[in-house]
Symmetry: C2
Subunit: 506 residues, 2 copies
Amino acid sequence: MRKEMTRLIELDREVGLLGHIQALLGWDQETYMPAKAVDERSEQLAYIEGLAHDRLVAPEIGDLLAALGSTASNPSGDASLAERERAYLRVLRREYDKATKLPSDLVAELARVASLSQAAWVEARERSDFPAFAPHLERIIELKKRQAACLGSGTNPYDSLLDLFEPGSTEASMTEVFAHLRADLVSLLGKIRSRPQVDDSFLHRPCPADRQAAISEWLLGLLSYDRGRGRLDTVAHPFTTTLGVDDIRITTRYLDNYFPSGLFSTLHEAGHALYELGISPGPEFSRTRLHDAASMAVHESQSRMWENMVGRSATFWKGNYARLATLAGDSLQGLGLEAFVMAINKVEPSLIRTEADEVSYGLHVILRFELESSLISGSLAVKDLPAAWNAKMKDLLGVQPPDDARGCLQDVHWSAGLFGYFPSYALGNLYAAQFWSVMKRELPDIDARIESGDLGSVLGWLGRNIHQPGTTYLPGELLQRVTGGSLDQGHFVAYLNEKYSRIYGF
Amino acid sequence: MRKEMTRLIELDREVGLLGHIQALLGWDQETYMPAKAVDERSEQLAYIEGLAHDRLVAPEIGDLLAALGSTASNPSGDASLAERERAYLRVLRREYDKATKLPSDLVAELARVASLSQAAWVEARERSDFPAFAPHLERIIELKKRQAACLGSGTNPYDSLLDLFEPGSTEASMTEVFAHLRADLVSLLGKIRSRPQVDDSFLHRPCPADRQAAISEWLLGLLSYDRGRGRLDTVAHPFTTTLGVDDIRITTRYLDNYFPSGLFSTLHEAGHALYELGISPGPEFSRTRLHDAASMAVHESQSRMWENMVGRSATFWKGNYARLATLAGDSLQGLGLEAFVMAINKVEPSLIRTEADEVSYGLHVILRFELESSLISGSLAVKDLPAAWNAKMKDLLGVQPPDDARGCLQDVHWSAGLFGYFPSYALGNLYAAQFWSVMKRELPDIDARIESGDLGSVLGWLGRNIHQPGTTYLPGELLQRVTGGSLDQGHFVAYLNEKYSRIYGF
């Protein structure tokens, strides 16, 4: 390995180490930090983040990238380098460019405005007062356009913002995929709504937190989540975080009157953690940028796969429901497998994305995609957002928000400056279904294994194909390598059709 | 405030912020970190420690100190500065000098050798093999002498090491105080041993951890430990740590068959935390070096005061034992106040310092002081340490270690390079008793308050007199301000005599 590469890796690892420290500061804040410590903790977080940024934009990194032949037009560097080294340079170049293209006054202004906007959003949502939030949103959008102009990837501002979360994706490609998906989901939803509806009221029986914790423990055991390299804690809003390559922690929450929330949250977060735990770019590139997830959407494909394609499948529960019923105690007393599987898959369009079923979920995301791309392009004015939101809600999901708090003020994302982020939530489902179809072909007995609770084969296949390479491939390249094709929403739609035609009998 | 002072405070706060982040990394390692994360965590800790050191020794700090008139011979700087500013410069100058006087190769070598020595010590203690540890100890002592020579405070090398933990103390002053204390404790121990001994066997009844946790909660409530600024967790070896000025966490442990261990550990650590929580040098100096504890020994005075002078007093339990008995359940079934107070104050010289009663404890410390000062001066050779240890054990405590594991290999301190640290453990008791005698004079009804469980008056007095100033005063100056005198072991000896004459009836 050339000495410039060795030095680059050393500098990159320093940035990574700071990122892991930042993750601990964040994890502790959500789990165990005493309330009054929040002011100094914010400073600690900002300080470490600033340090990591300074280290990343250090001229030495630029010089080393250049010395290895990596430029904006040839990010992978000299052709003589090993393949993995070229992959590494490409990802590091990308991060370096993203960090250096933004003037520091813009970064600071975005952070400042996002912080104020989030506070304003909290108040505006409480009072369902969109006009109070509108000027903040306008300011955020203005800054996001400036950010996009600085980044300058793709052919329009929204492309640059999308690329931050899903490298290589564009508004045009998303529009095409989502147009098909939109039509298919609306049609499927129509079929489902024409059928007798599912009763899931028994899922709201009380279930004590210690029983729910035992259910989580059991599931994490089936998933082979290594407690030597992670842990589970409870928080208000579950998340997964990486504090070290051998320290990937998950969180969940237990609602007294709806135990599936905690159960599926645990599976979802464990899916994220299993991905991070499985990344293994080899010792030379351990703890470098190659040791990261390929993208937000690939990450989401893993969490949604374990949560939905395993965790909400009839196959899995066929062999494992008896154990769940024992652990859940009174909550599932007298209820059979079939009623349970139907209940956890009940489709019911609602106002809120975060609690949406598998069919509605994509429509919620498409709604945000359509609106946020219009806000960025300027074809939709902020003042017209509530009306546009409500009209699309009616169109896509057939529901009508009674107020803006449950309408266009429901998500924190835009107030935090997160534009281009939402599509990843839906892309994750598409990737998951497309990966899953290959896995089923390559592992013909996988259903029998899942039914028996042997999830090791699923994890092994995901590890070899999805997890191990980290950021070696762009998401589109990974998809091509694993499935031999490009993004195709058809797999996800077929998965939904097969599943829901059984449940709703059409 | 002069702009140099403002800038100095800014730089100092950055070092402090890094120290708090380091504390979080350490706290998490002891409480919740998954086992396999330890390697990267060590790197994270070393990285942040290195960063803090680099920031502290930055030439800019030296220049600012000089610009404000602070020099080695006039640490407090220009006479025109405000009193608190001069106090601040003095403490910062001290830290800056300590950090800059040591060549970085010596610091690195000390860290390396200490790490190896600790590993060697663990093995040597397991096999009770002092000769295997001896070369490591020799190497450590050699490096400590080099360190002392670089620091060059006081008139001999051990003075320099003492001064690291107890600013202003010297071997000569310690020798004098400890000589008196030694004689008084040996004499008191003799009297106690001539009397009928106390039965404390019932304290070893099993007590479930959740009952012990409830006892801790109750005590922390009485002590007004603010959960908004701290928390309690369980660990193998209890400690207190400062993760922010509003984030002072304590830890404890619950032994199944000896609940007083957890109870007194909680009180001890809460004493440390109450001190840190009470430091308040004013907004201008918040989160600077002035916002630290005055010394290790002053810290220990606070923990030992709550643990022993309150927590093992007949006065406190007179009004609070009934509640404890309820919380402890079967463990104290049928046992009265008097038997309990006698049992928790049982004096029984043993081989181990960490579990020693209030009388033996000081003798354990004096033994280490006498031996380590001789090791540093060279009057005791490492090879002769086991024999010297055993002879002193017999002399001071009347016990004979059956092997070196329970003799001179019992403490981790020397293997970690901690010479000059032990005396603080005993000094803490002396300070505590001397402070206590003033408090009793100033608050005549304090016994009645303690008996009624109203500990706010004790805390208020400590806050005003001991906690608030932080490092504004050297320990000796603080003692002078609060008590009007210099260090006098007589207060502690009088306290012990009064207490144990009642318990043992002499």
